[in-house]
């Protein structure tokens, strides 16, 4: 069992929404760590060794403990550094927290990604799916945040919907979360991104925009050249 004082390292990529969740959690808990940027086209031996099953980031290395999958990492962080808990204490509230976190991963992220990488009918279908999922997600808000009056576990899971949905939306010329159709989620983004610690944790907007724009263009070009 690793003690809290043992060295913490995080393998990640600057752009990843999943890595960001972990970085935000570490920041909120005030945990010092070494960040290691991975090149996913040329994965390091350390990454391949520490996540042989998926070979993906984020991977948290804490002493001898190696943890992968962002939501598993978040619970590990919360349980190991248990001051200022991110998860609620009551079992039912914890179950609801896990439910919304899973909903974000299972239902919101995939269609948003499809919207970014496609066009025409496929994109329209994915957009409809994304907006329906986001509308459902609004039910998880408990006041200002998913965590109630202060941010909690689900807010961190949902961080991938804040600046990222704005960037991806701008890349394709739309808004995923507009104030008219998704007023509560829109307010959440404003409240969430106005918190200093959160604001400081984001990668630069322009860099994200350029990177996702290039990703979209590459994908569409590859698709076109296959036809």
């Amino acid at each position: 069992m690793a003690k809290k004082e043992h060295k913490v390292r995080l393998l990640g990529t600057w752009r990843s929404r999943f890595v960001h969740r972990v970085r935000l959690a570490l920041k909120l808990k005030g945990i010092e760590y070494e960040y290691i940027e991975e090149d996913l086209k040329n994965k390091s031996p350390l990454l391949l060794e520490s996540n042989p099953v998926y070979k993906k980031v984020p991977v948290l290395i804490h002493g001898n403990n190696v943890v992968s999958e962002s939501m598993v990492i978040l619970e590990y962080i919360d349980e190991t550094w248990s001051e200022n808990p991110l998860m609620p204490q009551d079992p039912y509230d914890r179950a609801i927290t896990r439910f919304w976190s899973k909903f974000i991963d299972d239902k919101c992220l995939a269609p948003i990604r499809t919207v970014l990488l496609t066009d025409g009918e496929e994109q329209e279908k994915a957009m409809k799916e994304a907006k329906e999922a986001l509308k459902t997600l609004e039910r998880g808000l408990k006041g200002k945040f998913f965590g109630g009056e202060v941010i909690g576990f689900v807010d961190i899971a949902a961080s991938c919907l804040s600046i990222w949905s704005e960037v991806l939306g701008e890349v394709i010329g739309t808004k995923f979360i507009d104030s008219e159709k998704l007023p509560h989620l829109h307010s959440w983004i404003e409240e969430f991104t106005s918190i200093d610690l959160v604001k400081e944790s984001f990668p630069p907007y322009d860099k994200l925009f350029a990177s996702y724009k290039a990703l979209r263009e590459d994908h569409l070009a590859a698709k076109f050249s296959q036809n």
């Binding site: 943890v67 914890r94 179950a95 439910f99 899973k102």
Partner: protein
């Protein structure tokens, strides 16, 4: 801890079986309600409006869905015997493998009976690969939970009664490909909580036949 417990379920669902095993391990008395998935009841639609799926656990009037979440809830409310380990890292490892089983077993197994020809052969290969990865995680321990049945065992063991259907349709043998998993499955079946929750593999095979007709897969 008191209060009525109701489980909305479907006899063949491996996800429902997870909840049944967890409740049995904890000695929790509950009312089992079989749902007709072709004609979902009002209580199901009301208590799981997001997904409209089983299993749904209703405890003291409060409803929960998603088997991974339900089993963790059961483990936290009825603490003995514990399914998740105490240590934070061991819990992370257990959650990782439970998530792997969730992401990889059901979908690749389903693809086996839902497809034909090359697609089916590829699904069989994928399923066996995933099972071998799990077998690696089991190592030489009797259970994923170590000496005793634990969280990952509860998450994975329901698929065991579906193996026969996958084997028949896919033309392979779990025992031949993954002997440790086969031995582990037999060990789990010695526990009453498991043997009572899992269905007869022949009935599951028959059910898959019905599903194939329903989805027009011949």
């Amino acid at each position: 801890m008191g209060g009525e417990v109701v489980l909305l379920d479907f006899w063949a669902s491996p996800f429902g079986m997870r909840a049944r095993i967890a409740l049995a391990e904890k000695g929790v008395k509950y009312e089992y309600r079989e749902e007709n998935l072709a004609n979902k009841g009002e209580l199901l639609l009301k208590s799981n409006p997001v997904y409209k799926k089983i299993p749904v656990l209703i405890h003291d009037g409060k409803s929960l869905s998603e088997s991974l979440i339900i089993v963790q809830y059961i483990d936290e409310v009825w603490k003995n015997p514990p399914l998740l380990p105490e240590d934070a890292y061991e819990r992370a490892v257990a959650r990782f493998w439970a998530d792997f089983a969730d992401k990889k077993l059901y979908d690749s197994g389903t693809k086996i009976w839902k497809s034909k020809g090359e697609a089916q052969a590829s699904a069989v290969k994928e399923f066996i690969e995933n099972l071998k990865i799990l077998e690696g995680a089991l190592g030489d321990e009797p259970f994923f939970g170590g000496e005793k049945l634990g969280f990952v065992d509860v998450m994975v063991v329901p698929f065991v009664c579906w193996f026969h259907a996958y084997e028949v349709h896919g033309g392979f043998s779990v025992a031949a490909e993954c002997p440790k998993i086969d031995a582990w499955a037999k060990r789990c079946m010695e526990r009453e909580s498991v043997s009572k929750a899992l269905q007869d593999p022949e009935k599951i095979l028959e059910f898959v036949g019905f599903l194939k007709k329903k989805y027009g897969v011949e």
